[in-house]
């Protein structure tokens, strides 16, 4: 008997924790892999901040961690660029795309729409393992001869195409391209699954206008991803052809390393178009899930319906649509036809309208609420703040005439780190605090969570706000040091200050990682519905079971935002300040924000 059972149990372990097809397990796999990658990306930025804040000074930690990438405790100039490139790639794709969407789309789509699992559990599993393999390849590229890719996360050719131009464009760049191709496959498998699941597997009564905004944001994100990621794959493949098979899609008239290259007739601008056709929607692939997550949290913790549910959906649709036709604002000074510059200025500034609507709706949701400040709620408020602070400077960069002088300066670095980096990461962290009970069946510690929030928001503004001033002083990004220019001499203090804040930010995240690991293993057991929320995921048990609901999947009778709904006498309709979606409508009661 036992001899018969033994291999069976082993298989169980392997298929339960490793090759799982259960969306909840896959969600945790995405989260943990994403966080490990994120931690690596964060550490890289802290290291190169040391170089920028204290140029040329020797640090044992740099010697210790970077090995041959440094000399006497100072990193080498081209390896500085490798760190910058890998930091960008890891943060944008591995943490904020796969880590964010992979975690929360997987966790919440089946749970919130009332489905047993994803439409295809097998594709879902493949999506994670493609992501895992691409992560591993990306990390391996750090150790190859010549170093990791060093052409910036945007990998513009010819720099990325020619190993003669920078050592990182050798094997490191090849692995970058292979890793990203696999990553894109992962992302597409995931996105297709999300779309099909949302459209086909909603439970009885779950109409599109009863979906939580999280689900809407995941749906729009997935559609944007399916449209734009294949274009990056095409761009990457053509670059592989140029690098390895002598084609000339992006290369022409080049003299390097003492010889004329045979490439003729290509243009780097073609690559820029293809890259940004993904690259800009990518910003919204990061942002939209974060906005969806925080909409849900702000409403739940304010004990109020999200204000303007339909306007929120409409603005996300508008953002999703516009995101596909604004990519040229990254190319105002590339030599692209100035007429196109004018068109892209127009479409770009239009995005401010739905974004403004979202901000005002968030703020109105808070108005006359009854707000409980959980760490998730604090991070959500933080997101609204970063979304405003970073979004507004987009009006400067999106305006082609103004972009001329701040293009590629630290102004841009400050802008996109606040509006996309911080908003994305705040949304993701808020989601982790909020749905930790659903992920691990335990609660995170609130005091450590609050401390984490305060350190994070103070240090992140301390890092990125001064960068706008550097940019307005004309400091270009991706400079190993500013000490070669007398013009920038008196800006060193700003850089030193930024670096101190970066070290503080790093320390703050250690608190979070400790809280995360401790609580996942030893934290207090979670109740079924800790935040008294309406959506369906809180009707499932704390302990994960395959299929999510033990019996029938519950039917849905109302939208998910019936918080603090009162009758004519001013009393709560059900005696409590929330009415879960599974509660049938009372007599004469209107659904979806009707009174």
């Amino acid at each position: 008997m036992s001899a018969h059972q033994h291999p069976h149990e082993e298989q169980d372990f392997l298929f339960k924790y490793v090759f799982s097809q259960d969306h909840k397990m896959i969600s945790k796999q995405f989260l943990i892999t994403g966080f490990i990658m994120g931690f690596i990306g964060l550490s890289m930025s802290t290291l190169f901040r040391l170089q920028l804040g204290f140029p040329g000074e020797s640090f044992w930690i740099i010697d210790f961690l970077l090995g041959s990438w440094a000399e006497n405790g100072v990193m080498l100039p081209d390896k500085y660029l490798a760190l910058v490139t890998m930091h960008g790639t890891i943060m944008v794709f591995f943490l904020l795309t796969a880590g964010l969407s992979g975690t929360f789309s997987n966790l919440l789509i089946p749970l919130q729409i009332g489905a047993r699992d994803m439409a295809s559990g097998f594709l879902n599993m493949l999506s994670y393992w493609f992501f895992f393999v691409s992560s591993v390849i990306m990390l391996i590229s750090l150790g190859v001869e010549g170093g990791a890719a060093s052409a910036g996360w945007t990998i513009y050719p010819p720099l990325s195409a020619l190993p003669q131009s920078i050592p990182g464009s050798g094997l490191g760049m090849t692995l970058w391209l292979v890793s990203m191709a696999i990553f894109i496959a992962s992302s597409l498998l995931g996105s297709l699954n999300y779309i099909v699941t949302i459209l086909n597997l909603r439970t009885k009564g779950m109409t599109m206008t009863r979906l939580p905004l999280t689900i809407w944001s995941f749906l729009i994100t997935a559609i944007v991803g399916v449209i734009s990621f294949p274009v990056l794959l095409a761009a990457a493949l053509l670059l592989v052809f140029d690098r390895s098979f002598g084609t000339s899609f992006y290369l022409s008239d080049i003299y390097i390393g003492g010889q004329v290259l045979e490439h003729s007739g290509g243009s780097p601008i073609l690559f820029e178009h293809l890259f940004w056709f993904l690259g800009h929607p990518e910003v919204y692939i990061v942002l939209l899930p974060a906005l969806g997550i925080t909409s849900e949290i702000v409403s739940t913790m304010s004990r109020k319906p999200i204000f303007g549910y339909r306007a929120m959906i409409t603005s996300m649709l508008a953002i999703g649509f516009l995101s596909a036709i604004v990519w040229g604002h990254h190319m105002f000074v590339t030599g692209m036809n100035p007429f196109l510059g004018a068109v892209f200025t127009f479409t770009t500034l239009l995005i401010a309208i739905p974004s403004a609507v979202k901000v005002f709706n968030y703020i109105t949701t808070l108005w006359k609420g009854n707000i409980k400040f959980s760490p998730a709620m604090l991070f959500s408020i933080g997101l609204v703040s970063t979304f405003i602070s970073g979004g507004l400077t987009g009006l400067i960069l999106g305006d082609s005439a103004l972009d001329i002088n701040v293009h590629d300066t630290y102004f841009v670095v400050g802008h996109f780190h606040i509006v996309m980096g911080l908003s994305g990461i705040f949304g993701m962290i808020a989601g982790v605090y909020h749905w930790f009970p659903k992920l691990f069946g335990r609660m995170l510690n609130n005091k450590l969570g609050n401390l984490h929030f305060w350190i994070t928001i103070v240090s992140s503004y301390g890092i990125f706000f001064p960068m706008h001033f550097l940019g307005l002083a004309g400091v270009p990004r991706r400079y190993y040091t500013n000490s070669e220019f007398p013009l920038f001499d008196n800006l060193l203090d700003i850089n030193t200050l930024i670096t101190w804040f970066a070290i503080l930010a790093f320390a703050g995240q250690l608190i979070f990682f400790f809280n995360f690991v401790y609580s996942a293993l030893r934290g207090p057991k979670a109740p079924q519905n800790p935040w008294k929320a309406n959506s369906l995921e809180w009707t499932t048990g704390v302990k994960h079971i395959h299929g999510n609901w033990p019996g029938e999947i519950p039917a849905v009778y109302r939208w998910p935002y019936d918080y603090s709904k009162v009758n004519e006498n001013g009393d709560y309709v059900t005696g409590e300040d929330f009415i879960p979606q599974i509660v049938p409508l009372g007599e004469g009661e209107l659904d979806g924000g009707g009174h």
């Binding site: 720099l159 780097p268 400040f373 408020i381 609204v384 007398p486 918080y563």
Partner: protein, 324 residues
């Protein structure tokens, strides 16, 4: 050894933290509550901190403007740059108030409506009037910004008319230096191609081209006359570079295989700018602003703006291409 001590220290810190958390959880359970429950008092404390943060955030903003405002780029040294600066000011006058007002509302509401056991939240799910209001207002503001922005853009990007008096300069980028080439008396730049690059002829100029003979090539620094339109043409030898001249509000990428262009009229000489910035050593610079390799951070060329007479005298001293 140090690493070992560090690891032990970290482990001790973690162990202590775990114990403290355990104690806190036990104490909470003894008082009949769970540690993760958020009381009205705790919520209020965070709300108060949010207000403190709001004040600190504005304070930090003001402090930066006061402390670093003087380190920003000085007034524009080109004609179109004045327009750009004006547009920048208009935009800032729009976004800074929006930044301040939305933040005040965001944090004030957070503070004011922090959790209380006795209050009920207002069930307020939508208002078409409000939503129309804050769709239309930004739309109008953006229309203004777009119109002003595009009129500037179109003016800036229009090349200098060939019949107008102007100077034609080619700026050539390579890893990791800049070269400038003046068109010479004929006002025409000689043909160039990578095939002709050899030895000192780094720009690949076709020596058989008549137009090339009077071209003048300079390195290290190049001069511009004040008040005369300068038409720039940009080329690159190897990878992408970007010719960034921040004081003139000018930037354009240098693309292998493609000629790009930009033009401006310098309005302030180097000497005048030294007085304006109160800096004896002030120089205008051209720097690279597109990642181009290991020494990207040090790819620069000085620009001297001087009177037309001084400029012509300087240019006359430069050797013609055919003389090299």
């Amino acid at each position: 050894m140090i690493a070992l001590v560090a690891i032990v220290a970290v482990l001790l810190v973690i162990a202590t933290a775990v114990q403290i958390l355990k104690i806190a959880e036990l104490r909470a359970t003894e008082s009949g509550k769970e540690i993760y429950e958020i009381s009205a008092k705790q919520s209020k404390a965070q709300a108060f901190l949010l207000m403190v943060f709001l004040v600190a955030y504005f304070g930090f903003f003001a402090w930066q403007v006061w402390k670093w405002g003087g380190l920003m780029l000085p007034v524009s040294a080109s004609e179109h740059g004045v327009g750009i600066d004006k547009l920048m000011n208009i935009t800032l006058w729009f976004i800074i108030p929006v930044f301040i007002i939305t933040h005040i509302f965001l944090f004030w509401f957070s503070y004011k409506y922090s959790f209380s056991e006795t209050r009920k939240a207002l069930f307020f799910s939508h208002s078409n009037k409000l939503e129309m209001f804050w769709t239309i207002i930004p739309s109008i503001a953006l229309t203004v910004l777009i119109l002003v922005g595009l009129s500037n853009w179109n003016k800036i990007m229009t090349p200098v008319a060939s019949e107008q008096e102007h100077i034609l300069i080619e700026v050539y980028g390579q890893q990791f230096s800049w070269t400038a080439r003046y068109a010479g008396k004929d006002g025409k730049l000689g043909r160039a191609s990578v095939e002709y690059i050899e030895g000192v002829n780094a720009l690949g100029i076709d020596v058989s081209d008549e137009n090339a003979k009077d071209d003048k090539i300079v390195k290290g620094e190049f001069h511009l006359p004040v008040g005369v339109p300068v038409q720039f043409v940009f080329r690159s030898q190897d990878v992408l570079h970007s010719a960034y001249m921040p004081h003139f509000r000018a930037q354009m990428n240098c693309v292998p295989g493609l000629k790009t262009q930009f033009n401006f009229i310098p309005t302030i000489t180097t000497e005048e700018m030294k007085k304006i910035t109160n800096n004896e050593n002030f120089e205008y610079i051209l720097l690279c602003n597109k990642i181009c390799g290991a020494a990207h951070y040090n790819m620069q060329m000085d620009i001297i703006v001087e009177s037309k007479e001084d400029f012509e005298k300087w240019l006359a001293e430069q050797k013609e291409f055919s003389a090299e």
